[in-house]
Symmetry: C6
Subunit: 288 residues, 6 copies
């Protein structure tokens, strides 16, 4: 298992590959580096090439920050698809993505929202990008809940605006459930179950001394796990509901802007909603 | 995974393949395009060829809209089979299909009924075609319930008319159950279970961060899922029953017409039943 | 999957293959065709050859209807076996088969009894043939119950006559249980479980949209399924018991005739029992 | 699957293979034929050869009935083993086998006891041979219970004589449980479970119409099966206990004779115990 | 499967292989034969060679009985390992092995204790050898309990002496549980479960008539099995505790001697503890 | 399976491989030997080479004890990684590791803490090394609990200092659960479950006489296991909490020193915290 480059490493690799490439004045390699955790050196080289191609298509003589962002989208989600989507569907998608984005701005600890779009790509009808400012190596329970709240924001926005549900939240539900399940069964974040590991890691390195190599817990414990997962999801759903009702005006503005412009970057989102980035989670020590 | 053409794409492909083909004046390529979601470019080329062959068999010098519809049936369900079906069985099949079709006309949000037939094809003894006006990319809970109600309409018609059950509803039951189960276990449409994912996707793309890669829920949750699935199915069954009793005259008329003509297209169905297409589902925003 | 010929098709194939074969005056190709659903064209050709061989063995110069029936038995169940079966065992087998046959005559909707025999063939010690008059494409709940009642008739006759049980009903029990289980779990014929599909089809065509591809129901539902299956089987067992007690004289006559002649065809069965074919199931419409 | 010869067939095969072999006057080929169900033609040829070899070893000029019986033992269980078994162990084995044998003589319907021995062969420390007089093709519930009672007779004798248990009954317990389980789950011999099939046959021929191909019953049913199996086993155990206490003198005599002679044939068993073969089960018709 | 030689056979094989080997006057081939059940002819040849090698290493001109015992240890458990074990650990191991050994001397029916050692071999830190006087072919329930009591003696001694537990009893626990489980599930030694077989044998010979080839019992039965296994283990644990408290002086003496000499043979154990071999289990007949 | 060298063996191997290598005066081969249980001869050779390389890199003319410790880290956990970790994250990691280390100093019986570091290596963000003074061959229940308490110390420190949880304890939770589960299911350390083995060993040597080769226990037992595992974990968690609150000053000092120096060896830890090594567990005999 090769370790992927961290933020500094990615910035260094970006510098190498953009040495002989004309960059627009707005290009911020540090920001690109911080938006691309998980990318290998080869991925970053590919990113620069794609960005150059996009700029060339538009017959520009240098590459802008937006070209890099568009190239990143293409690499991760595939090329844009031109689907005929009804106005009603587009509006619903706009509200769905706006639900994710607004929560990304108002839930303390949420990762910054870099971009939101209702241009279909691959299987996705809309996308909200959220990337941490710096690479993270440790997640707090509050941060995980902030992520779950954000994931449930798409469906919650639809519920608030239309009063009904669609299948559009399928992936959000899956990811939120996976997070909640890990919190309960591997990360010891449920008081009811304590610091007991209930599902095994797939990591072969962890089969250390004493492990039985088999999963076996009782029906009673399975029931407790389900209850705790349900509890986390429902609390986050309620939190999403409270917040989106509170920020309904901003939700409307952002959805309207998306209907109009299709894609908004971080600054445009701030402008449209009048919101600022979410507060970081306080990591204060407890006073004795 | 290649993305299939959308409605516009299909219409464009139809235009290409019918360039050198004599079309009757009633042919409406846009309608054919909207009736054929899921077909690839190759499928559409095949459709045109089959329609031309059918027209040639009847020694016509151009291809009519009906030829396209017949060709579509053949491609999807295989060629017609000439089975000796007793008059009693034919009548029952006519009522079964009419049950589907009537509900396709009266349940708000149901996909338009393009055609209904009691000519056996492949394994099917009768078929009711329903296709959306435009490609759909997102399904609401109400739409899914409209589909389930329609699926249960065949059996419900038999129960109303004959007071008993046959095995003819096997596939309908299977599809309705699958829909209800997905609503409950993946689409977060059961309040009792909340926005929790309970069965895993087969989609390899969704095995994102944090997933345990294994399904494990408690017996208690399994029971709740069963109850919620049962509830959806039974509510839809009751709705089908209420509606078909309300539209029993139209049901009788349509079954009689099917006994007489075997196949009816959309306009003939309207004529025979005096019904109009179902209302679309309202996608209204909730007033604050 | 090639579609097998229907009754008309089989009669046509029979005509082709008997063109150059001397047939006795009693041969009724239409009847043979109706007794052979499920046979392919090749099977039918084989049937004619076997019948000719049987006639040749008896040094007859033409083939009789009985030769066709004997050939059919041989093709389906293998050649006769000459086992030394004790008189007691023969009598019990005669009553067992008579139990099936009598119920085939008196349960409304039962398929006609074409033949009954206590000559062992393959693994079977006796056989009761029942074939529908015409190919069936749809089964009502009443018809399925008629079949189950008939299947349980062998054991029930033994219980009535001897007051005890043997293992001879093993296959009957298996088939009856399979029917009942399908009624409950796939055909929506249990009110307690509603129109919910509980076991998956093996048919790959039915894995349509929305199916999770996995079976998972709760212990509670499993219990309900078991109860409903048990209920169907027990009701049918009781019905078989009531009817065979009612027709005990006819049961005795048929068993005695079987002890005497070993094999009886439809007409001989009518003669011996004085019974007529079962009433067809009424398929009446419900009056409004 | 080739059908094995029945008793007549076996006698005919014996006659063929003994044509050129000198037989003692006590040889009864019909009896040998009835003691060898399940043997193929090749097995029977081998039996004659082994018997001839045994006679040759003893430098006899003809083959006696005992030679055939010894040859049969060798073919089925392997050659004798000379193990040093303590006097105590030998006595216990003698009582164990006598328990089987006495019940084979006094339980109505039990298969005749052809031979009993405490000479070890293969894995067995002692053997009681029981073979039906004629080939059986159908088993009654009473016969099955007679077999189970006999199987449990070895352990029961040990319990009566020594007041404790050994592992020597392991195979008996396994076979008795298998019989009881089949009675309950496949042969419809438990009123609590009715004529419902609960485990599937391994026979590929039986996967007829309608079977789901999967076993699935509820915990409730599993519990009921266990109770019914336990009930049959315990009733048979009690019956064995009652009978062996009743025939304790004969049990003692037979065990003593076994300690003395090691092997006894049918006639010797009668002589030693003063018992006659078990009554056949009455197969009487119920009077109306 | 070749049958292994019994005690007589092993003695004969020993005689053959020691023909040309100088034996010390204390060598008792009969005793060696009775200590080596389970060894094949080749194993015995190897044993003689190893004993000769050991004697040669010590530059002796003949082989003593101890050389044979040392050779046997080496063959079964691998060569000695020189581990640095702390005095505390050595004492604990000495008490653990003494616990096994004392119970081997005082529990009626226990196999004789041939040797006890705290010299590590292979994975074992200490070993207590117990071998039957003669080959056994049948085990009584009392003998099995005597074995389990002995197995639990190591842990029990530690509990008595140190008042706490170590992982050193892992293998003892596993073997004791396996014995108890077999008693309950295959050997019919639990009155609560009766003579019912609950787990299948792995022996392919036992898949006789009527077996379903599948294991399936209810949760209720699983619970009963667990209770019965727990009961046997706990009763034996208590018995071990009572006996080791009663013989605590002898336990201390033996542990001290082991600390001193590391290995003691049967006679030395008698000398150190003042105990005699355990009484044999009485195999008395019940008086009527 | 080759047996690995014990402490003496490792020291001897170290002496061989350092014969021609210049060692600093602080090098203590005995200490290195006692810190490296589980290493093979080849591993130890590699260790010496790596230490020499590290010394060479620093252009030193001899190898110090620290070089050996650094080499050991590299061999076991892979090379250091230079990650940009935020100050907040570094502090949290420092407290996490300090939690492990302090408990390693204050829990009686805990293995000595050789080193603690917040330099990331491989997947680990920080490491606390604890190695026994001598090779251990037997673990007491108290020692196992001491280990579990130490494992839970990282999370507990975070809870005390920050009042919240992170995913950083994932591996600690897994290892602690494995230990607790083994105590309950294989080592007979739960009075509720007694000396019953509940999961099978993977060790092929242990499948001795009588084992069924299959794991099967009831739901009731599964529940009991879960309760007992939960109880051990929670008791240890509480103990960790009590101790770290008691030693909070030392915890703060150690975390601060780690923030400052990144890595501390045993002596530095003593210096910074003012603590001495943990008491050994008393292995006293119970007085009678």
């Amino acid at each position: 298992m090769v370790n992927l480059p961290d933020k500094n490493g990615r910035e260094a690799i970006l510098k190498v590959h953009t040495r002989n490439v004309p960059l627009a004045s707005d290009v911020n390699l540090q920001e690109i580096a911080s938006t691309t955790p998980g990318l290998s050196g080869a991925d970053i080289k590919n990113l620069v090439n794609e960005a150059a191609l996009l700029a060339a298509k538009k017959e520009k003589d240098n590459i802008s920050q937006k070209d890099f962002m568009d190239a990143l989208e293409k690499i991760i989600l595939g090329p844009e698809r031109s689907l005929i989507i009804s106005k009603e569907d587009r509006e619903r998608i706009a509200y769905h993505e706006s639900g994710h984005a607004i929560l990304g701005l108002v839930v303390p600890g949420a990762d910054p929202v870099n971009r939101v779009t209702i241009v279909p790509r691959g299987q996705a009808l809309g996308i909200t990008y959220q990337r941490p400012v710096s690479d993270r190596y440790n997640y707090t329970e509050s941060y995980l809940r902030a992520r779950i709240i954000g994931m449930l924001g798409g469906r919650t926005a639809e519920e608030i605006i239309y009063g009904n549900k669609t299948i559009g939240a399928e992936n959000d539900i899956e990811q939120a459930t996976n997070h909640a399940r890990m919190m309960v069964t591997r990360w010891g974040m449920s008081d009811a179950l304590g610091m007991v590991q209930l599902v095994e890691s797939n990591n072969p390195y962890l089969n250390g001394m004493g492990g039985s190599g088999r999963r076996e817990f009782s029906e009673e414990t399975a029931k407790l796990i389900d209850q705790e997962v349900y509890k986390i999801i429902n609390e986050c759903h309620q939190e999403a509901n409270i917040l989106l009702n509170e920020y309904r005006m901003e939700l409307n503005s952002l959805a309207a802007a998306l209907m109009d412009k299709e894609t908004l970057d971080e600054k445009e989102i701030f402008l449209v909603t009048g919101l600022m980035p979410a507060h970081e989670l306080e990591n204060k020590k407890v006073l004795v």
